[in-house]
Subunit: 219 residues, 4 copies
């Protein structure tokens, strides 16, 4: 069994190097250097650069999907609560995991063959985390949108944009972003919350406990 330590160390470096230079722009030598290892040591853990990307992307998506479902079920039965929880979960994920999010959203299309197919399935499932809640809200008559899938894409793309422009050193605090993005999301599905309601939705507990160390950002 190859030590999880060595693997994770490399995955962390791969994540940061991919995020900075892009999959094709990042050389394996860059990753090795970032990991404090020799070039060839990487090949002890991963048979190829592609495989390292796949491992990273696969693990990150899987974690997101699994914890997303937990977060939503912990939000209770009300569809508004569940919707707010899933939006806030994604916002926080993007803010706290900018590097991996960049790789997920930009470099995933560099995957080939079976890897690409497997990840496309995961992406569909990840979209469904939010998409199922929106569909439920529409079915329940609480949300008013013509095309729940398109509305899902809209809300997701707002949150995903964080990986492009959010920086911890920027002017906006995570809390401001979380509040405003939650409001935008609600409005998109046709809900205009009064301020107290919005406050309440923002106080529901959202957990990202137990995230793997090679997913979450370095600080």
């Amino acid at each position: 069994m190859r030590s999880t330590n060595g693997r994770n160390n490399i995955l962390r470096s791969a994540r940061d190097t991919f995020a900075t230079k892009g999959f094709d722009g990042a050389s394996i030598r860059d990753i090795a250097q970032a990991a404090g290892l020799s070039l060839s040591a990487l090949y002890y853990y991963f048979p190829s650069k592609q495989d390292a990307l796949y491992e990273l992307v696969h693990t990150a998506y899987s974690w997101y999907i699994e914890h997303g479902q937990t977060v939503i079920s912990e939000a209770g039965d009300d569809v508004l609560d569940r919707f707010a929880a899933s939006v806030r979960y994604l916002v926080r994920y993007r803010i706290e995991n900018v590097s991996v999010s960049t790789v997920l959203l930009r470099d995933t299309e560099r995957l080939e063959g079976e890897n690409a197919a497997a990840v496309k399935t995961l992406q569909r499932q990840a979209r469904a985390v939010l998409g199922d809640v929106i569909a439920a809200g529409v079915d329940a008559g609480r949300f008013t949108v013509d095309d729940p899938q398109l509305a899902t894409r809209a809300v997701l793309s707002i949150c995903n944009s964080l990986s492009i422009w959010y920086r911890p050193t920027g002017e906006l605090t995570p809390e401001q972003i979380e509040r405003d993005f939650t409001l935008y999301a609600l409005r998109i599905v046709g809900v205009e919350p009064d301020p107290e309601e919005l406050d309440r939705l923002l106080e529901l507990p959202i957990s990202q406990a137990g995230i793997l160390d090679f997913i979450s950002d370095p600080q």
Copy 2:
């Protein structure tokens, strides 16, 4: 005298090759082959791969900004009309120029030095096309958002997502997308239009006339 023809031919190939493989994944041989030229011919027109990317990105952004301002001013004085026009202009641009949009939104960060700086300025201006309208709407009390810049990012990111998932062969028509995205944008800034009003906003004329052939998609 360098013929515009040769240049544009190359820019078209560069756009498609960058869009498909990414800037770092695309080799100059790929571009030459797509252009039906020899490797060295490219160097007659562009001193480097970077320069070709810069030319492409610079021209595309400049065109977008210039025509965007025209479109908005042609929409009249009402801030709602101007807002709808600018959203619809961007939606159409993304739908009709998927390839160049992909490059603009993904590969621009591969630019270096002065090129990168110049394009960052253009990106700010491009954001301002929509951003100024939103700010005006907020100032006029017609839009209710706390942070006009953040709202701008939200609306932009919805439209920009088209470059990732929109395909002309997909199920949704450009008209459906334009309608729904316009509605989402209005809702984000706190406006809930009644159906007639939305219809009216969707009938305002939007021109993309005169777009350069190496920007707009092949069909």
Copy 3:
């Protein structure tokens, strides 16, 4: 059209380097250095090391087969004359083209896929150059062997052994070897020539005119 000059120069170096170090032991750097070119220049002419080997082997076998048939037909109708001519042709080929013979006989099995298949066909044809003559001799009742194919292998293997041990600086002259090997070959097929007959058979003209420069040994 890539210049034949450049190609042949590389093929010559490849031949010598493969002969000395074996296909797997020869690095592309070795070949480039021997050719007085940079590493990458080789890739302008040959897409891979495999392809260079294939080109070399394919051309050498094709030349051997074609000229072998000419030599035999020029030897006249008598099966003994034809047999002696084909043996002497092969002996001379091995002596005058030791390097390429070494590659042909040792490294051909490093070929893969279609290349391997194509060369196996050529090898069968090359064996048939001598094999057809032996079969004709057996059919005509002039040769007494049970299995013409096995006798062919026997005669061929004697001649082929030259690529392993023959050196121009050795004690034996090409003429001595040609005489003795011709005698062995005759004896194998059951013919014991008297000295005058052997002399006559050794005086028939055998041409290797027009051999390609990257096949024949450097001197």
Copy 4:
């Protein structure tokens, strides 16, 4: 105490891997995998790849020489019997030990330094096993060849060719090959046996008893 078991297991794998891929084409990983061992385990038994090859080649040649001398002395005093015995011994060795023969005849020249020198001595001795018999036959006036050494090379090369083309699944039986090759060998040295004589020569007992398991072929 290094167990002979472990060593032989590795030598067996080395033999097969070298035979299939060639010395330079075979990686130590390939050998380890074939032996069912980890990479580093090989280094417990052999200090380098070269040494493993040397051990294999050295042992195989030594065994061949020693048993060859036994076989010949067991054939009695008659030079024809001794000659037939040595030819048939080699034919059987090549047929029953194709893998090791391939390595012996092809990869021996990859040996370096002292290893190469030592093996060259062994090769000379191995040639002498047959060569001494031929020389004795010539001295005794029973064989009529001008150059006993060249005749030796001729007979050897016929037998050695088996490592290239003989496969147990082929059409020819070992017995057919043994008969025909013995006949060819006799003819080369100028002896035309009548059928009864040939039969008698083929009935002399030849032993390969006690061959080491890492020399003889797997079945």
